[in-house]
Point group: C2
Chain length 300, copies 2
């Protein structure tokens, strides 16, 4: 691993699928390159937005290897490696470390519910100890609306105390700014990323690291610009502009709508395809989405 801690705008990269629903490796690499060229600081491949939890273990590992073989530097990669099963998470995490990824974004185990801090502490401990590498850099992934498992402030503190050289960051996709704010205040050494760019300026002003956000798949340049100019006079105006794009997408199912717009970028309807249980955006919704974005002056 390269040893650096991420800062800036990272993209949970959408995963394109072929008609047989296998990952379209070439389209994926093309999109990754495009995102980096447009300003992404890093690629959080295999995130929620990537439909990673609908993609098999072997497929995920093959896709990561292909990406690196295609010339994408592992120093910009923060793959998601958390699954519901301890040993599968260890396998994916060790694989990412072996391939030199700069970090991993690790969901808590998400099948069992009403899990307490002791159980989650034991989960992350086992993963870290089993991978057993000084190169491992873990970013905790807090996304209770989907995982339905909550990473409490106390748990974060316990993990930081026990693994200060390994746990370097956190992505807060709770959608609850007060939670992000508290994490930033309580754990200032942690590289904290907001899970939506609507909190980008607030995150940076409180000492946060940036944003890992789904919408960066289609709006990375503008989000990067807002990140770069966060201390300048027009920062609030830039924030408002990226918010207005985000808000349009939030009216629709997020992943299918991001894929629909990515299909417009690449002029390839193949990009609209999702894996079950998600469903592609309907024609009516796609038309409504495109109309709303066009009204904003958004370029596709």
């Amino acid at each position: 691993m390269s040893g650096h801690v991420f800062r800036g705008v990272l993209v949970p990269v959408l995963t394109p699928f072929r008609p047989d629903l296998s990952p379209d490796v070439d389209a994926f690499v093309t999109h990754c390159r495009w995102l980096l060229n447009r300003g992404a600081h890093g690629l959080a491949v295999f995130g929620t937005t990537s439909e990673a939890n609908s993609i098999g273990l072997e497929e995920r590992m093959a896709l990561l290897e292909h990406l690196i073989d295609s010339g994408i530097s592992p120093s910009v990669l923060m793959p998601g490696t958390g699954t519901s099963a301890l040993t599968d998470t260890v396998r994916l995490t060790a694989h990412a470390v072996e391939h030199g990824c700069a970090g991993v974004l690790v969901l808590p185990p998400f099948y069992y519910k009403a899990i307490d801090d002791d159980g989650l502490f034991a989960s992350y401990s086992e993963i870290i100890q089993r991978v057993g590498s000084d190169s491992l850099q873990v970013y905790l992934y807090h996304i209770p609306p989907i995982s339905q498992v909550h990473l409490s402030l106390k748990l974060i503190g316990r993990l930081l105390s026990a693994y200060e050289n390994t746990i370097v960051g956190l992505k807060d996709s709770s959608g609850d700014w007060s939670n992000t704010e508290t994490v930033l205040r309580e754990y200032p050494t942690l590289a904290t990323f907001c899970g939506s760019e609507v909190f980008l300026l607030e995150t940076l002003r409180k000492g946060g690291a940036g944003s890992i956000t789904a919408t960066a798949n289609v709006n990375v340049a503008e989000i990067r610009k807002t990140f770069e100019r966060w201390q300048e006079g027009n920062a609030n105006k830039l924030q408002k502009e990226i918010n207005s794009v985000r808000k349009v997408f939030e009216k629709y199912p997020l992943i299918p709508s991001l894929k629909a717009i990515t299909a417009e970028f690449y002029n390839s309807s193949d990009w609209c395809r999702v894996r079950p249980p998600l469903r592609a955006l309907s024609v009516t919704d796609t038309e409504g989405l495109i109309k709303s974005l066009t009204n904003l002056g958004f370029k596709m």
Copy 2:
């Protein structure tokens, strides 16, 4: 596959772990044999109670193979094969079919939330079509308190219409008797199992197939007896007795408490071990549980 549809009492078999948290294959086979000898009609290995969603793909397949190699007939096996990822579910399901398992219990994909019927229909369709075997017999697994994904009545109907020879049963672990009752009334040809033995008599009286229940790990003989005598005069009394045992366990975290009592049966504290994110039952709770069970005259 043997072609028979299950009926009776099935056990979602607890999975014992060694100190390094790997599955203890020998203890597992011993427990499976004991359950069959005590009256289990079938073994729903790799269920929720089995901590299957904390166990890796390769481990699950190796364990199933070992079980069959040890002489447990695949005709009594209904492994759980549903994961969050389409291709992993297909892999586990195809593996179970190839090894002759009489049925598979299939969770819906459980990572993404707010999934509609179309998405779930597409999920099950893809699995069935990809496995593509006349020997595949699917039991739908409805457990919204944990999966947080709901299998609606309408979805069940659509699946039955589309795959009448493949979808043969359902386990209802909603804990909501009115839901089970409606499924029994609307889909009388489906082999419907209640997910808790407290509904056993009611299920059978409404034409259901039986129960697939966690507590059968420690009380299978009595539950089997209740099943056998469901039309006899003392059925209600037997139902009341098994309920009283179940109710004791429900005061504690269910899986750890079942493991604690199984440890008593085998006189081996190794059985207490769980995988994170679950935690073993505390000493205090174990003492309280044993005391309550002893007061009921429950034999350990």
